[in-house]
């Protein structure tokens, strides 16, 4: 006997309303393909181009707590902001990001990253310098590669000193698409 879709959905909505979830996730559509998004009571926990849900659920349970549930209702505010961003109607995100568990260096780098405005870029070395460690360009590259919340924390705005795009964990074609959306690339 399978559980009817509307009954399943009603439970997931009620669970989101109950405030008892440590993390809620959903898979949402975007111009860059499906995105896994996850939020908790302290903000956005994860955005990923990799929609292997099972792996993300395990990770969310480790980081945020075991009450992890797919709950589209709780993901709605983030979905809305992403839709506005992709529609060109939003240049900055209002939702906060939950950085629990990252190292102090990573946190400094990500806070500086968040300050790079829509439509602008910085180099890895510049970002390292802003985070207080000018020699750490390579470590900044690693931090971008492991960014838990791409798009919202705009690692796509970080490029090489010679203007090359260098790389993107979600695939270079997505970095091109995001910089094109923001008018950096034609």
């Amino acid at each position: 006997m399978s559980v009817p879709v509307d009954l399943d959905r009603r439970f997931r909505d009620a669970a989101a309303r109950s405030g008892m979830l440590d993390a809620a996730y959903d898979v949402v559509d975007s111009p860059l393909g499906p995105l896994l998004v996850a939020t908790g009571d302290r903000g956005i926990l994860r955005i990923s181009f990799d929609t292997d849900v099972e792996r993300h659920v395990e990770w969310l349970a480790r980081v945020a707590g075991r009450n992890v549930l797919r709950a589209p209702r709780q993901a709605d505010p983030l979905r809305r902001e992403l839709d506005e961003y992709f529609g060109g109607r939003r240049h900055a995100f209002d939702l906060s990001v939950d950085l629990r568990g990252v190292t102090p260096f990573t946190e400094r780098v990500l806070r500086e990253l968040a300050r790079i405005p829509f439509g602008q870029t910085a180099t890895y070395a510049e970002l390292a310098a802003r985070a207080g460690n000018p020699k750490a360009a390579r470590a900044v590259g690693m931090t971008m590669n492991r960014n838990r919340v791409p798009i919202v924390l705009p690692c796509h705005r970080v490029i090489g000193a010679d203007g090359s795009l260098v790389g993107y964990a979600g695939g270079l074609e997505r970095k091109v698409a995001l910089l094109t959306l923001e008018g950096v690339l034609l």
Binding site: M1, R10, M20, R66, N67, L69
Partner: protein, 154 residues
């Protein structure tokens, strides 16, 4: 020493047990009343989930919660003498027969019989559902079975 069985994320637990829980509730309450009870069951489970200390017996645990919810629903309602609608789509006819067959039993006996013979729970686990002792659970199941024998042979 063996490691305690890891507790899965709630999503995994829910996906694994939701069908069986809904089946139990439909047999006990009928299709309509089972829907609210389904939600109540998993909200209770969610509330208790972060306090669980190991991942053993999760199936028995959630069936226990569902049975308690079903008993609460039955207690809240005045007896009408009518039998609930039962689903006819169950993939496991033995369970369905048991659900139909036990309709006329008092709630505790019915719960004991269905949980013992339909779901293979131990008397210890059934006792937890019924807020009573394993001996009382065994007693309720055997009284229920005796009553059924009498009814079906009458």
């Amino acid at each position: 020493m063996m490691d305690a069985v890891a507790i899965p994320p709630f999503e995994t637990f829910y996906a694994e047990h939701r069908s069986e829980v809904l089946g139990l509730l439909r047999r006990r309450l009928g299709r309509d009343r089972a829907e609210d009870a389904f939600q109540e069951t998993f909200l209770r489970a969610l509330r208790a989930y972060e306090r669980l200390e190991h991942g053993e017996h999760l199936r028995a645990w959630v069936l226990t919660i569902a049975s308690r919810v079903a008993i609460d629903v039955q207690r809240r309602e005045k007896p009408t003498g009518e039998l609930p609608d039962l689903p006819h789509e169950d993939a496991r006819p033995a369970y369905e027969d048991l659900g139909e067959l036990t309709n006329g039993l008092p709630p505790k006996e019915r719960a004991a019989v269905v949980l013992r013979y339909g779901y293979d729970l131990t008397y210890h686990q059934i006792a937890a559902v019924l807020d009573s002792s394993p001996d009382a659970a065994r007693q309720a199941a055997s009284t229920g079975v005796r009553r059924l024998r009498k009814e079906t042979s009458a």
